[in-house]
């Protein structure tokens, strides 16, 4: 888990971060232990890796022309969700009924796959009035979807979301769904244009947190099982897969190293931003200035794979009442509006400050084990204003807002 990583405020981490502040993200990523493994793929194991040893599963290979056959089998056994083509070049995760609906040449759908674990409208209990009393029944859709083609950033976020729904008061509705969902990820050999997962330890390849990780090797995919369930999934596919060759595994490791050098211009040097935000060194004036360029649309919260804030609403449905968890945004004025009419975060600047404190501070890092960001780059794309994560983190670090 990422909470086993080196704390960013130790001297060695600060040294690395300071060096990274002046260097491109790629070099920083390499400096922070690139090529390390969790024992799942046979890559160079870094000696400083304190992570728990996982059992080594047998990696396999599948020829691309056999992929449809495997997907067809998966569809027979379960609901399969995969990237599909939307309108005019849009990419959307959707349930597929045939293998040819899968969009293999995809970047990353704008709507994150967290929606399959945490739907925007999520009925939790159903309340029916009967003979003067109320029946309260837990809603369980019993779905056991296979999410095919999840990117490393989103899978890392799912591990984060599991942690958030497990700590303190475990959320049975979320955990039930998460436990049943099979994750077949697609490693990023070609980083997306706005992504900065290297800055968040969330990609471009995964070392844990998946059932099967696929890597595109050209005319075939390497399939690395990352769990007993993933191992079983590949085993039942029989001769569609064959054991991976050493050269194929080496190729996968090369692709990972190469991917780390191919990131675009977005970077997020969380280390120094974390220090400033956690020690009260970001001025109120800067928050005010930045929040002037936010339009309170909530998009950042909705598409962020690690955001999970919600509201609870009742609606009439089929003769009963459904109590639903619904996505909410901490950037909305009404998010913290109290019944008295008082709003502790009436000013947009306060709401923005709170969001980034939650995402980036050391206090939350220590509590949750990770920065609240996986570098997927979606907030850069969906922001109606100019206040995406890289822009705000940059402003926090420099003390100046450029927009």
């Amino acid at each position: 888990m990422r909470h086993d990583r080196e704390h960013p405020l130790t001297s060695s981490a600060i040294a690395k971060s300071a060096a990274a502040d002046g260097t491109p993200a790629t070099e920083k990523a390499l400096a922070s232990g690139g090529g390390r493994a969790g024992g799942l793929a046979v890559c160079e194991v870094a000696e400083t890796d304190p992570g728990p040893r996982s059992p080594t599963f047998l990696s396999r290979t599948i020829a691309k022309e056999r992929m449809d056959a495997w997907v067809a089998r998966l569809i027979e056994a379960a609901e399969v969700v995969a990237p599909t083509a939307g309108h005019g070049g849009d990419e959307l995760y959707a349930s597929i009924s045939a293998p040819d609906e899968v969009l293999w040449d995809f970047v990353n759908p704008l709507q994150p796959p967290k929606q399959f674990l945490l739907p925007q409208t999520d009925p939790i209990v159903e309340i029916t009035r009967r003979d003067g009393h109320f029946d309260v029944v837990s809603v369980d859709d019993r779905r056991q979807p296979i999410l095919l083609g999840v990117r490393s950033c989103d899978a890392t976020a799912m591990a984060f979301l599991r942690h958030m729904h497990q700590r303190d008061l475990p959320d049975p509705a979320y955990l039930r769904r998460a436990d049943r969902t099979v994750l077949i990820t697609m490693a990023c050999t070609r980083p997306c244009s706005l992504g900065f997962c290297v800055c968040c330890d969330a990609g471009p390849f995964l070392h844990e947190g998946f059932d099967v990780q696929l890597t595109d090797l050209g005319d075939r995919y390497l399939a690395e099982p990352g769990s007993e369930r993933g191992e079983a999934l590949l085993a039942t596919a029989g001769a569609i897969f064959r054991p991976a060759l050493e050269s194929e595994i080496a190729h996968r490791c090369e692709l990972e190293e190469e991917a780390k050098t191919r990131f675009g211009a977005e970077t997020c040097h969380f280390g120094s931003a974390m220090r400033r935000v956690s020690t009260g060194r970001v001025s109120e004036a800067l928050w005010s200035e930045m929040s002037e360029e936010c339009f309170e649309c909530g998009a950042c919260n909705f598409v962020c794979p690690t955001c999970y804030c919600f509201s609870v609403k009742d609606r009439a449905h089929g003769g009963a009442w459904q109590r639903c968890r619904t996505w909410d945004s901490c950037q909305y004025a009404a998010f913290t509006l109290e019944a008295s009419g008082h709003n502790p975060r009436e000013k947009r600047a306060d709401r923005m400050k709170r969001r980034f404190f939650h995402k980036v501070s050391a206090q939350y890092y220590q509590r949750d084990g990770a920065v609240g960001c996986v570098g997927c780059g979606r907030c850069v794309k969906v922001c109606l204003g100019t206040t995406d994560m890289p822009a705000v983190v940059g402003a926090i670090r420099k003390g100046v807002w450029h927009g």
Binding site: H87, L110, P119, E292, F295, G341, L384
Partner: protein, 609 residues
């Protein structure tokens, strides 16, 4: 989970998104990355577009009033009841009208026009907000009778200079505000005009504080500078008539300062876009539009590629409704405001005339002179509860049709879920009404209605099914002739009488909080519901310094006295409002209606009661 691409039903930016359903129930909204307007973005309203249809109180059964109460009826009986009751009104010599809607599709609006003109032979036809947008169009038409091209949002984002006359663009049209912000970040100079300091005004290079009703006059000094420095583009100026009359109406040009800067920016820019949002009395809106059009004409920006005037209708398909002909016919046609008090019979299509009333008691005296009120709507409303016949229709998430955005982009709304109960698509119900009145055969599909629209309305002749279905919609073809421009003299706003030195203006042409798509969305309605709980007796907003001068604090009552009447409401203080101006929230029209008249600002005396 299923997803369907559809067009946003809220403001007129023309964004699109995917509505998501599970088992036929709407559960979510996903952005479209490649949509040319939205480009992966949506505002708070857009992100919650899936809520109102499934959380709201819906009309699900045809209802007919019998013996004082509304009773369920079959579709046949309800359509027949509507026909019979309307004909009875006409036979008694009463006048009837049709109130269309800014949220109806083009197909529904087109059929509503047929109902008014063909079936009921009436010119009383309008939408609740129609007069505001018609005023903008009318003002521009005074200067450019041959028409002007409409700049696109893409052109707005690429402009070097943006002039913005607004209420609060970030709230009324967030998508356009986003484009303006992007333009400013890319180096554009933003100049804002308005009575209130807004998010856009704080982004501006120059902000002109403008009292409501004095928008045109605010432009006078800018035009004077433009003419004085001889920086008006010669070839453009040569195409302008009535220059002398304009010149005579102007104040002396200021020698320097921000006014001169603005004039110079406008003159030197190759791409300048003016964004106008209607507010206030139609006459003032028209004068403002004419003034901005005159300025643009003199600077050569009225019909140059990348420049122009972008007029923003308040709601998603107001432009489409006007294009389809939902507007009163010249003389005898009554506007929405007048319909409620003058007509005996009214068909309200996806509109809530009772709730929109301003002045008097609102609510209870609502039905006024109406003997017969027929309501077609998706959502329960005050009008539906008071109606004689209720015909339940699908909302925009459940129907197929087209909408026309501010930039003239015609796009499809596609059904993502079935309408509830016995509700039917609006085009189908209107078709049945037309058939009942003997006007043709009911259309078999929205596409059939679109084909007729393409034949009948020239601007829509180029809209093809292929572009609608496979592309990102299709632009209407705006006819304009490169002719001469008729400059309009700038009038002086009437002086305020000494006994009423303040101006009280509405905060906009309508209240988003009262719109069913917002009011019935549990996420979106929180702000207005909470606000109403905090201010159950209404509120008027006042400049803090003015309040200090009067000796009142936040929440204290103030009495407002105008020539129309008076009202006492709690005051809210704001540093963002110009001195001498008070803002009346449209949500408080019941409490403040007595003081106001219509949409325009009114002079008032403010006292401590």
């Amino acid at each position: 989970m299923h997803t369907v691409l559809t067009t946003c039903p809220f403001c007129s930016c023309g964004c699109a998104f995917y509505l998501q359903t599970n088992d036929g129930t709407l559960i979510g909204t996903a952005a479209s990355e490649n949509h040319p307007v939205a480009r992966g973005r949506l505002c708070a309203r857009g992100w919650q577009a899936h809520e109102a249809p499934s959380w709201g109180r819906r009309l699900t059964r045809p209802l007919v009033r019998a013996g004082g109460a509304l009773e369920e009826a079959s579709w046949e009986d309800a359509i027949e009841a509507a026909r019979v009751r309307l004909l009875a009104v006409l036979e008694r010599g009463g006048e009837v009208g049709v109130l269309g809607s800014e949220r109806a599709t083009n197909e529904e609006s087109y059929l509503a026009v047929k109902l008014a003109r063909g079936a009921l032979a009436t010119g009383h036809l309008d939408t609740p907000l129609g007069s505001t947008f018609r005023a903008l169009l009318g003002g521009v038409a005074r200067v450019a009778p041959g028409g002007v091209p409409v700049p696109t949002i893409e052109e707005l984002e690429a402009a070097e200079v943006i002039l913005l006359l607004e209420g609060d663009l970030a709230r009324t049209h967030p998508g356009i505000a986003s484009a303006v912000l992007r333009a400013v970040r890319a180096g554009a100079r933003l100049v804002t005009f308005g009575a209130v300091r807004t998010q856009m005004s704080r982004l501006a290079a120059v902000h002109f504080p403008v009292a409501p009703g004095a928008e045109a006059a605010a432009l006078g000094p800018v035009i004077a500078c433009l003419l004085a420095e001889g920086s008006a583009e010669p070839s453009a100026a040569a195409r302008c008539d009535d220059l002398e009359a304009l010149r005579l109406s102007l104040p002396p040009a200021p020698g320097g300062g921000s006014v001169a800067d603005v004039a110079r920016w406008v003159a030197e820019a190759r791409r300048a876009v003016t964004v106008l949002v209607p507010a206030g009395a139609p006459d003032d809106t028209a004068s403002a539009a004419a003034a901005f059009a005159s300025l643009a004409a003199l600077a050569g920006h009225l019909d140059r590629p990348g420049s122009g005037l972008l007029l923003l209708p308040a709601r998603s398909n107001l432009k489409g409704a006007l294009d389809m002909g939902v507007a009163p016919v010249g003389g005898p046609g009554l506007s929405a405001e007048a319909m409620m008090v003058s007509l005996r019979g009214l068909i309200a299509v996806a509109s809530d005339p009772l709730a929109m009333q301003r002045g008097g008691d609102g609510g209870s005296q609502a039905r006024g002179t109406l003997e017969c009120l027929i309501v077609l709507d998706a959502f329960d409303s005050a009008s539906a509860r008071a109606a004689d016949v209720v015909l339940p229709i699908a909302c925009s998430a459940e129907t197929e049709g087209t909408q026309t955005s501010a930039e003239g982009r015609v796009q499809l709304v596609r059904p993502a879920a079935p309408p509830p109960g016995e509700a039917r698509p609006g085009w189908e119900v209107l078709g049945r009404l037309l058939e009942a009145f003997g006007v043709g055969v009911r259309p078999r599909s929205p596409a059939e209605v679109r084909a007729e629209i393409a034949r009948v309305i020239p601007e829509y002749s180029g809209v093809t099914e292929a572009q609608l279905a496979d592309g990102w919609g299709s632009f209407t073809t705006v006819r304009h002739e490169t002719g001469r421009f008729r400059l309009q003299p700038i009038g002086t706003p009437p002086a305020r009488p000494a006994e009423r030195p303040h101006l009280l203006a509405w905060d906009g042409p309508f209240d988003w909080g009262g719109d069913p798509m917002v009011a019935f969305s549990p996420t979106l309605c929180r702000d207005s519901v909470s606000w109403r709980k905090l201010f159950p007796h209404g509120q008027v907003l006042m400049n803090k310094a003015d309040a200090d001068a009067l000796g009142v604090r936040q929440g204290w009552p103030v009495r407002l006295v105008s020539e129309h009447g008076e009202a006492t409401v709690p005051v809210g203080l704001s540093e963002g409002i110009e001195r001498g101006v008070l803002i009346a929230p449209v949500a408080c029209r019941d409490e403040l209606g007595a003081v106001m008249s219509g949409l325009g600002a009114t002079t008032v005396r403010v006292e401590r009661p």
